[in-house]
Every structure is written in structure tokens, then in C-alpha cells.
Symmetry: C2
Subunit: 333 residues, 2 copies
Amino acid sequence: MTEFELIRRYFDRRPSRRADLGIGDDCALLRPASQDPMAGRATPRASADRLRNAGFAVSTDMLVAGRHFFEDVAPDALGHKALAVNLSDLAAMGARPRAFTLALALPAVDEAWLDAFARGMFALADRYDCELIGGDTTRGPLNVCVTVFGDCDVETALRRDRAEPGDDVWVSGPLGLAAYAVRERLAGRRLPDDHPAVLALERPQPRVELGLLLRHWASSAIDISDGLIGDLGHVADRSRVGIDVEWARMPVPEALWDLPAPDVRALVLGGGDDYELAFTSASVNRGAIEALRAQSGLPLARVGTVRSGSGVTILDAKLQVLDDAIRAFDHFA
Amino acid sequence: MTEFELIRRYFDRRPSRRADLGIGDDCALLRPASQDPMAGRATPRASADRLRNAGFAVSTDMLVAGRHFFEDVAPDALGHKALAVNLSDLAAMGARPRAFTLALALPAVDEAWLDAFARGMFALADRYDCELIGGDTTRGPLNVCVTVFGDCDVETALRRDRAEPGDDVWVSGPLGLAAYAVRERLAGRRLPDDHPAVLALERPQPRVELGLLLRHWASSAIDISDGLIGDLGHVADRSRVGIDVEWARMPVPEALWDLPAPDVRALVLGGGDDYELAFTSASVNRGAIEALRAQSGLPLARVGTVRSGSGVTILDAKLQVLDDAIRAFDHFA
């Protein structure tokens, strides 16, 4: 059973009745119930709607030692990453970071470790004015669970299920570095701490500003946590479309240029943990998205097209199907 | 270092700037930012205030195998309890359950286990119309982290920091059963599955309805998770008051009547995991609270008084100080 089959079988009882968006996207979308059924009735309509649409994007991610990070990871890097992967989910919804909770199981109280962990976490939190508002600490095998809250308009938040045939497909930067760092480490080769692949793995930079800018332009968005093929597969499934990715258009990180071609494709298309954004946008917006390159400082790349049909297909330079059988990462595979 | 010292030293950066209430209560209180700075301006004031005060109470609890539950606990009981302890935090704020997220680390995919876990969790969720809206599943040592969202008016939510000298102190029912079940099990004595102590430990009933009723009457509230002494100590600290508890007024569960007196006091005053509510209320409300007994179906008991000063004191039948040196449960003790 894959992770997604497990969720579908035991936990997914869609459609949501209590939220604007439930299971199946980067975040859920939730608005407070008015405490007064009459509230807003006499309010000018446009203004009242904006107030009524104000809600939260909510996401939770659990990081387990030996699974999501190496046991000897620097604690400040772990503090950073535990929050970063959650902020990346907010970015994928175009939500503005507001607050988070932290549940932490620790095998023992190690003051130097805790000090560094908190330092790494708060450095990133402060950059986005995202406040720690609650949590839980307990003894147990090392486990970090962050739940994050981002402000958004629940009607205009970015989602996975609104890509349209004809849309362009974009990624926010080169992919595959984090997966390369993991591969080298598992093969017993230690990259220097400041190698771009190690930085990608241990200090991912959530694309929060880009997500906010994309609210006006993207038809759908997702963060690339399990690998481009798998994550675009979610967009295709939820939007009931197919997606073609042109391999020749994919930005490949310089650190991977000397590897054998099939390895490069496996890392770039199937490697997770990069936390770039993939998004779709009507082709009429192409100029606007290109202008966002300068505004965001990110090397946005147009890498494919949404089509009718289903699934994600990789095309070579002659637009023939490349058949590498690359799969997304699965925790229960 | 205790759990609370750890939080204070590394994670607590109060006062909160981004939430109505941050670290240090059963829940944080959070309102969405309006997506429009002009929103509500032309709104009739009373109505607009109620809309603007609509927010969420948010709490997160992490349950670790061998720490919060015995490894061989029935999975449906674990599913129930993981949500129940979070709903209890909502109850302590007078918030109405709305939705939750679930992060789950599993050593392996065991379909019968997952089926029972989900059944126990959803049975309780459905009772309160509290919907699972997102989560994360991964492989790892068994760990269950639930984050819960309750609707509330952030201005009138119940908190720990508003007890006043002269207020009565109440508990929602007899205490100590769950701690007794743990004690017996650790001593190698197995109570029957339907023993009230086992039910208290494995199927705690969050006092959600009572919390909602108390919004109009209680000056402060807390759920009793770490033991009455410790939890009332939090109310005393946060409200800058002292609390006297009269031992003779404490309801003692029938299952504990035959134990030695010091054991009974240790279990009732220091045992955690019962998830009853403790609350304070102006003595002028005494009749109203007594009327809530019938309405809630709970044996509400008036057990003490808020005074000026600090700390929690236990008094015997002659109102002399009982000195049992009972401490609250501490995960890092």
C-alpha cells in the first residue's frame, strides 16, 4: 500500500463539509464560523465578502529521524527544515505565514541541541513574521511535528484542482539537488556542508513570496516535495487533465551536469525534498510570469503544457515520450 | 529541567504579537487577518465586532508509544484518545469543535490496526462534527500528533488567566481513575477492560458541552491532564492568585475508596490523564453552576476557593494545610 492509498482507504472522507477545502491539497482552507448568524447582513457587499472570505490555510508535516533527516543532522538545520517544509505548503496555496505550533518528542533533554534547534527554527520564523503560538513537548524517539497557519482569501487561494488544458507548466527553479545529496550520503560519500546539494537538502528555502505573487496569475500550484512527476501527477489527478513535461526545458542544477543522463533525469524528475513550486498559468499570462522572474529573483522556467487526458508524460527534444519509469517518493514503498 | 522550564527557556517568546493568545493556555486563539484593510468599516458596530471576533482555538498534542499509552493499547482506543485529549483542550476554552489534522508515524502498515484506529477516531470526531481536514503519514516509531481547531469568540473564550480572588473552584467530576489504571498496570495487575479506571484511561470523554455552557459563567478554566495540583497551579500562576482546595470536598471515585488515604490523595490530586475540567466562577454564580449539573449531566463539585497570593494549597477538613508534597506529572522529570 502506498502512502496515498493508505490515506484514501482509511482517512479520506471527502467531500469536506466543515472546511472550504479538506484533504488532498498542500493545505486545508478553513474559515471561522461567525459567532452571530446575523453578522454582516447590513454590510456593504464587497467589503463583507472580503471579510467573510478571510480564513486560514493549514498544513501539518511530521519529520522522523532516519526517515526525513539523517540522525546526525545539525539541530539548527532541523529546526529550519521542520518549519520550511510547512511554509512551503503555505507558499503553494499563496497564503501569508502567520503562526505555527510545534510538537516535539525528544529522547533526552540536550540543552545545546535545543538551543541550536530553536535558533534555526526562529531565524526562519522571524523572516516571515510567523509566530510560535503553542505546542507540546514530550520524551520519545526524535519526532518534529509542525502545524502552520497562513492568512488567505479562501476563494482565491491557489489549489491543485484548477489547471486547464492549454495552460503552461512552470517550475520555480532547478530540481534534484536535495535528492542528489541524499544519494551521495547513502553511498558513503560526504559532500562539503556548503555544497549546493547539502544546502538544498538541509536548508530548503520556501517560495513564500513567489506564492503570494502567483495568486493573480497561476491557475494551480503545488510544492515539489515528493518529486516533480509525482507532484504534477497530483495536479493532473485533481484537475482531471494530463500534463506534458519537455525534458529539454527542465533546468538542471550545475552540480548534476556530469552525471549519466538517466541518473540526471531520475534526480530532476523523481527526486523530492527540493521545495520549489510547480504551477500552471494560462499561456496569455506568459509575459506576466516572465516579469515575475525579476520580481521574485527566481529562475522561473516554463517546462510543459497542460492537455486534456490524464497523467504526466515526459517528452524528449523531439517531443517523443521518454520512458524512464520514474516514480515519486513513497514513504511506505 | 521540567517540561515547563524547557518550554520557557527555548520556545516561549511571549507576549504574542500575531495571535489573540499564544503559548501558555490550553489553546492558542487566532483570528484571520482581514484580506482588505477597509473591510467592516461601514459595518454596524455590534454585528461587525462579532464577525471580527470570530476565530479559532488551536491546540496540538503528541502521543508517543510507551509514554502516553501502553504499546499494546487497542488501536480504536488510541484513535479515540488522540482526538479526545485535543477536544479536551477545546473544552477548556469553551470552543466548539470544527476540524483537526492528523500526523501519524507508523512502524509498518497494519491494515487491521489502521482500520480500528480510524474507527475509534472517527466515532469521536463524528459525535462532535469535527472533521479531519488534512495530515501527514510516514514510517517511524509509532507517534500520533493531532492538531484541533475549534470555533470561538476570541474575546469571550475561557482562559487560565482570569481567576479572581473570592471565586469558587470547581471540578467536573471525580479524579484519579486514569492514574490508578496506570499504577495497577505498572505493578503487573491487569484490570478488566470495562473497569472504570481502564475506561477513564483509554476512553476519556472530553467535556465539550460543559465548556460551551461555562462560557457564560466561568472566570477561568483548564483541563486536568497533568493532575489537579499542577493544572490549578497553572491557573494560579497565570491569574496571579492563590488557590485553596479542600480535600474533604474532592469527589473520590468509588474504585479508590479502599486504598490507603495517602495513595488516594496522590491519585486524586496528582494523577493526570482524566480530562475533567477545573474552573473558577464568581461565588454569585453558585446557583447557576449548580443548575448546570442537571444540564450537563456531570457531577460538578465545588472544591475550593481562589484567594490572593500564589500557589495551590490543600486543606484538610479542619482547613489545616495538608502537606503531601504531591507533584504534577512531568515528561522530563
